[in-house]
Every structure is written in C-alpha cells, then in structure tokens.
C-alpha cells in the first residue's frame, strides 16, 4: 500500500493540469491562479506535499476536496451505497443467468443449445454497455413506462423504489459479466465433465441434475469464483459508463470527475482505498476456494 500511495501521488504530481486554473474560472487572470495555487499549497515541493499527505493518512484523514471543500471520506461514503448496490445487483443478475447458461451449454456441448448460448455470449461481449442501456431505457422507461430512466434511490427510501432504479443498470452492466461468466462456466464444466469421477457418478445411477449440480459444478467452481471476484473488484472500482448513462452517483463517476478536474485529494483517496479493497476481495476469493475444494488448504 505504501508503494501504491507513492506511485499514485507521483503520477498525479507529474500529470499536466492545474486545479487552481479550473477553480478560478474562465475569466481569471494568471495572477488570480497563482494566488489560488499558493493558498492551496500546490506550489510547494513534491516531498513537502507528499509528506503532508502521508501524515494526514496516518491520522485517518484522506484530505479535503479542492473544489467542494468536503472531506474525501465523506464523498466516498456518499457513493459506497450506490456502488455496492449496483455491484450486488449486477452480480446477482450475472451469476443467476450465466451459471445456469454455462452449465446447460456444457451439458449440451456441440448442440444448437450450446451454440446459441455461446452466440449470445459473444453478443454480450460485443454490445457496448451504453448502447444496451439506451435500448433498455427506450423500451422499458419511455415506451412501457415500467421503470425509471435514471437516478438512484437509497434503500432507506423504500425497497421497491431502490430495486426499480437498479434493474435496468444491472441488466445493462451485467450483460458483459453474463457473457464472461457463462463462457468460463462452460469451459470449466467441460473440463470437469470429462473426469473419471463424473463417469463413476453416472454409473452409480445419479441423474443428470445430480451429476451436474451435485458433483460437476462444485468442482468447476474455482475458476468461476475467480472471475466473480475479479468482477466484484472491478465493479466496486466503478462502472463509469453505466453510472453516467443512468446518472448513478457511484465511485466511477466520482473518480472520473475528479480526474477531469484534477481534484488530487479525491483521486489519491479513491485509488488508495480501492487498492486496499481489491487486495481484500482477492484474499476473500482465495479463501473461498477452500469451501468449494476441500483439497485446497493454505
């Protein structure tokens, strides 16, 4: 994490851009910008600024946004719920659709069922998220008026309103994960279905469902969990396109807006926190292998 902190800070220091110029506005003069830069401490040497930031970090302070004057922790906290909600719903949609599809495709390998599932999978990879999002909005929000166009509602404002606002974004974003997880599930299942113990289970009279779910899927779960774990980590880092199209105040938009504005404290804080989260999620995924495969012990 120390390395991440240093690299992030250094990269931002070297990146062109001046938040003081953005802060001052279009009509500002060079002198105005210089004075603002001075007030913000942006004219101080690298190690002075880095040292100050690290000192604050050690006290649990991620700093304050240059533009909004709000604590970075507050800004991130505002976006945790929408981000986690979108992540959770997206992965639920993705896993509930993709895993069965992958299992069916593997069980019917070489048939039209398998080819259809794989074709949809390719479509899922190929279709840009924003195109699918616009189609979903057009059909379900504008034409049918079933679901809202945009926005996020907190779960505290009512469960159904919360869920209604997440359905379309989850489907739009989940499609690419459905494609990915279905393919991985199929590949992993095909590998497992070729094993001797599967033949043994069939020979002992176990039905297809019992073989697929009770034996094959459990043993194929390790790579599937890896992909799901990677998906969680990526989604928590923010799904900028989905968040932009559906106007969801998530981490992705916070980060991109901060980058465009050169709001350094936010960029530094977000990258640091989510590097840590990424490490923890990967650890959780690694530990989950023990649940699916008793042979794996650390």
């Amino acid at each position: 994490m120390a390395v991440v902190a240093f690299v992030v800070f250094l990269l931002l220091y070297l990146t062109p851009g001046d938040p003081a110029a953005i802060l001052a506005g279009d009509a500002a003069t060079s002198e105005d910008i210089r004075r603002i830069r001075e007030k913000l401490g942006l004219d101080e040497p690298f190690f002075v600024r880095f040292g100050g930031w690290v000192w604050s970090l050690l006290h649990g302070d991620l700093g304050t946004s240059i533009f909004t004057n709000l604590p970075v922790t507050h800004l991130i906290a505002q976006r945790i719920e929408p981000t986690l909600a979108l992540t959770t719903c997206t992965l639920i949609v993705a896993v509930m659709v993709a895993v069965p599809l992958g299992v069916i495709a593997a069980a019917r390998a070489g048939t039209w069922v398998d080819r259809t599932v794989m074709a949809f999978s390719v479509l899922g990879f190929s279709l840009p998220v924003f195109v699918l999002a616009y189609i979903l909005i057009l059909v379900f929000s504008i034409e049918l008026d079933w679901l809202p166009v945009q926005g996020y509602r907190s779960i505290q404002d009512g469960f159904w309103e919360w869920l209604r606002h997440l359905i379309l974004p989850s489907i739009a974003l989940g499609t690419v994960y459905i494609a990915l997880i279905a393919r991985i599930t199929r590949a992993s299942m095909l590998d497992v279905l070729a094993q001797d113990y599967i033949r043994t289970a069939q020979a002992k009279g176990l039905g297809p469902r019992g073989v697929l779910v009770g034996h094959a899927l459990k043993n194929a779960a390790v790579p599937i969990m890896t992909i799901i774990g990677i998906g969680i980590a990526l989604l928590i880092g923010g799904a900028i396109v989905t968040e932009t199209v559906f106007a969801i105040p998530g981490i992705g938009r916070l980060t991109v807006d901060a980058i465009l504005r050169r709001d350094y404290p936010i960029i530094q804080g977000v990258i640091l926190i989510f590097s840590a989260a990424y490490v923890l999620i990967n650890l959780a995924v690694d530990l989950s292998y023990m649940l699916f495969d008793p042979r794996i012990r650390y």
Binding site: A21, L70, P148, G151, G214, R262
Partner: protein, 532 residues
C-alpha cells in the same frame, strides 16, 4: 454435508423478503411538497461565487444570496436589498439604507457590516469591483441599516457595479463569511436569498437541494431579470445533474425532471415532438463566441496577422457550428453583446463585409509570416469550444498557414493557456471560448478587451491605447457620452483585435407544460416558477 447451491435460491428469496420487511419499517414518508426538478447546465462543485467565475456557481449564488441592486430587463439598475439610496451632489458620497426584514438563513439580521464586508471581498476578485475599489475612499456603517460609500473621484458606474448581473456577482454574505480571503473558498453557505441550500443532501456530481426560505421578504414589484420580487412558489428545488444528454432528454420526456436548463442542438427536435414539453429561448442576450490570440509569440503578436483573420471569419458558419440551427443564433458584429445599449457596428467592416481571402493573404504577406507554427488548443469535451476550433483550423489551412489543433479536455486547455512560453516549451497560439451576454455588455465587464499586458486575461495583450479608451468610458458622465466612448473602444478593438467575436447564439431551454412563471432573463432564475 452442506449443499450451498440447493439452498441458494431459498436463501436469496429470504434475504429479499427480509430487506423488504426491514425497509418497509424504514420508509421515510415524505410530506406532500411541490418539488421542482431541474437539470442544470453543469455540476455544482464550487459553492463560492466570489472565488470562481463559473456560471453554475453564479446560478447557485442567485438561489441563496441576494444583492444590493439588480439589473432589470430594460438594463436599468434597481434597488434590491436597498430600500432607498442617496447620491450627494458632487457624486462622491452614496448613502444606502437596507429594507426591513432582511435576514440571513441562520436567523441573523442583515447588517451594514455584512454588506460592506461582502462588497469588499467581491471587489478583490471582480474587474468592475476593482475599478470601484480604486475610486473608493471608504465604506462606513452608520448604523445596522445604513451605510455610506465615499469616493475619491466620481465613479458613475457605482450602482451598475453593485447590481452586476453576471460573474462575479456582488452577493451579500454574513460578515464573518465575507472576511474569508478572496482567494480561498468559503466553507459556509449562509445567504439571505429566496432559497436555502440543504448541504446535508448535497451529493456533488449528482444532486443539489434547495428549500424555500420562508423568512424571505420579497419586494413588491414584479420580477424582471434579477430585480423585483423574488417570490418562491415551490417548496423545494432539486438540481439533478445528468451528465448524459440522451438520458437527460429521456428523463424530461418521462416526467422525471421538470426543466432542463440547456439543450444540445441535436436533441431539440426530439423534445419538440413531445406535446407536454416546451422548448424555448428564454435568454434574450444569448452568448458570444470568440477567438483569442497569444500576443506574446509569433505569429499573432503581429497585428496584421490578427487583422487578416477578421476578413475571413464567417460568423454565420460559427453560429451554425455552435447552435446547429440558424434560428438559435445570429451574427453579431460588435464587441458588445448585440441587443444591449452599447452594441454597435462601428468599425466592424472587416468582419461584416464580404469574406475576402485575398485581402487576408495580403495582410499576412505584409506581416512577414514565414510559416511559423500555429497551435490551436482545443477542448473536445466542450462542444462550443471544439466546433470553433475546427472552423478556425479550416480557415487557417485555407489561407495556407501552418496550423494544427492540439486537442485535450477543458482542464488541459485552461492549464495550458496559462503557459506564457513559446510553442516549443508548451505554449499556444489560439484558443476559443464563449461568454454569456451580460459578460460582454460594456468595456468594464468585457475582460477580453483589457490591454494590461501581464495582468490581462490569457493572451496578455499590451494595449495602452485600449486602456486609455476604457478609462475614458469609465469617466463618461451620461449615456450619450458612454455610447460615444464605447464606440471609440470598439473602433480601436477592430484595429488591435484582442479577440475576434464569432457570433451570438442561444442555448434553448426545455420544460414541461405544467411549469409556468419562467422568467425571461440571461440567467436561469428559479423564483416565480410554479408547478401544477
């Protein structure tokens, strides 16, 4: 042995049911309120309308602050927070008395000391305020309701300055807040305006919430631009920032929003198809595009090179490129916003007449152009800037000049335009931008005209003659003298060419048909608006 997969659907259903039951108990019942949902032109990040000139922050200022004076639709300065004022016969002493009942959102009365501190802070940042400050001897609070301004010399624009409509607007804040360094953002948002800012519900990048200030005492006159009665007819206003234009249009179509401040030209036909939506031009002054040069380095440090472009820039092309529809823009051959008192076409023949590439090439030859590189810095995330950049590039190429566009985002552009070095060290030759109409109405607020060299706006023109003419305008004692002085400023501007105006355009607004009372003004003002 556990069977996680078999029980997973059951577990999931149980979780959903639990969540529904839990949240049913937590449902916040909202009392019925009239809520106006407004899609603003940009995301509100900076809350201090003095430390920045960003228009979105100015608009936020109009929601929660009030001003001593304000301009009406006839360009007259009207008292706003002021009940009455007197000007001494020699024009050196102004005495202001505040209206009764003015209170800040924290319940404290508005006092003279608050007004003085606010004006002094504003004058440190604003160009017109700085001119007023140069002429000021002292501000004095006589008592809590009355204060005086003593001038060193007559300053005929005193009331215009105190009623300045656009960035930076002299908003009145509590003294303790107004004592904040003018180059540092304020941290509290307490005003005395018609709305209160609900900071707890502010989600930067997503939502800004205002509620009606029930303690606000509006003036009795009908509203006219930013003057007159500011009567709030809704309980709550939510600024919902929707970064994607197609989504914003869909939200307005679906009724999830009531009013979209500025539409991109390509979505106007989409919204016009909905009979429940009105697409209108409510801004009588529009905005003005411009080409700005770097006066420090070749080739545009040469006046003839700048003059050459006057003969080839076709404002019709720029207006169409920006507005997309000829109905939403028009040429304006003036350095002052067309439709305002000082607008004139004096000296505009090179820009207005038939386009003359031969004349331009002749001027370029006279300038001794030797093929120096010309770099146009562009911001592709700003459509108005980007379209102007591409049009200017086409003109320069047609003239045979060695020009290129270097594209980035707005943040990169405004950082790079502050670089005074030559091109080889990261400099630039041209950039484009635009200003709203009120920011170009006269030589005081029209900051691109200033010729103060290092202290001027980016480009840094040194033009002592312009400063002399501007000073003469400041000292003009009556409207006729002011108009004459402004004409002299413009004639010189068409010689020196600090910028080239590229036309006047309007960005239409769209609102649902159950919204009424929208004020026709160069700024989107949300008082007087009703929602049925």
């Amino acid at each position: 042995m556990t069977r996680p997969f078999r029980s997973a659907p059951t577990m999931f259903a149980a979780m959903l049911l639990a969540a529904a039951l839990v949240s049913a108990g937590d449902v916040r019942s909202q009392p019925k309120q009239k809520v106006l949902k407004f899609i603003p032109q940009a995301d509100l990040r900076i809350l201090d309308p003095i430390s920045t000139t960003a228009y979105i922050t100015r608009n936020h200022g109009y929601m929660i602050y009030d001003t001593l004076f304000a301009i009406d639709a006839k360009f007259q300065v009207r008292p706003q927070m002021v009940e009455k004022y007197e000007i001494s016969k020699d024009g050196l002493t102004y005495t202001f008395t505040l209206r009764d009942g003015l209170k800040f959102h924290d319940g404290q009365p508005v006092r003279s000391a608050d007004c003085i501190a606010s004006i002094e802070r504003w004058a440190k940042r604003d160009a017109l305020g700085q001119k007023l400050a140069e002429a000021t001897a002292s501000w004095t609070a006589v008592n809590d309701k009355t204060f005086t301004l003593k001038l060193k010399k007559p300053f005929p624009l005193t009331l215009e300055a105190l009623g300045k409509p656009s960035s930076n607007v002299p908003f009145i804040m509590p003294e303790r807040i107004a004592k904040t360094d003018a180059f540092q953002n304020i941290t509290e948002t307490i005003g005395s305006g018609p709305f209160k800012f609900v900071k707890e519900e502010w989600v930067p990048g997503n939502k800004v919430v205002y509620v009606k200030n029930t303690d606000y005492v509006p003036r009795k006159e009908p509203p006219s631009w930013a003057s007159g009665g500011k009567v709030v007819k809704v309980d709550r206003v939510e600024w919902i920032y929707i970064p994607d234009s197609a989504t914003a249009a869909a939200a307005l179509n679906a009724g999830e929003a009531d009013w979209w401040e500025q539409l991109p030209p390509d979505l106007i036909p989409v919204l016009r198809r909905n009979k429940d939506i009105r697409v209108e031009n409510i801004d009588p002054l529009g905005s003005m595009g411009m080409i700005r040069f770097n006066f420090l380095h070749p080739p545009f440090n040469n006046q003839k090179m700048r003059q050459a472009l006057l003969y080839v820039v076709n404002q019709q092309d720029y207006v169409l490129g920006i507005a997309g529809d000829p109905k939403n823009g028009k040429p304006c051959y003036s350095y002052f916003t067309c439709g305002t008192p000082l607008a004139t076409e004096a000296g505009a023949e090179p820009l207005k007449g038939k386009r003359d590439f031969e004349k331009a090439r002749q001027l370029i030859k006279e300038a001794g152009y030797k093929g120096e590189r010309i770099v146009i810095i562009d911001a592709t995330d700003q459509p108005i800037v980007h379209s102007q950049s591409l049009l200017t590039l086409a003109i320069l190429k047609k003239l045979g000049l060695n020009a290129e566009v270097q594209a980035g985002d707005w943040g990169t552009l405004i950082t790079r335009r502050a670089v005074k070095e030559p091109l080889e060290k990261g400099g630039w030759s041209i950039f484009h931008t635009w200003l709203v109409g009120p920011d170009m109405v006269n030589p005081a607020v029209n900051f691109p005209l200033r010729g103060t060299g290092e202290k001027a706006w980016f480009g840094w023109p040194t033009d002592p003659k312009m400063e002399e003419l501007r000073e003469a305008w400041f000292n003009a004692s009556d409207p006729a003298a002011s108009k004459k002085a402004a004409e002299a400023v413009q004639r010189h501007a068409f010689e020196f060419v600090p910028i080239i105006p590229t036309g006047q355009f309007i960005l239409p607004t769209a609102y649902r048909s159950n919204i009424s009372g929208v004020i026709i003004a160069p700024i989107n003002l949300l008082w007087n608006v009703e929602k049925k």
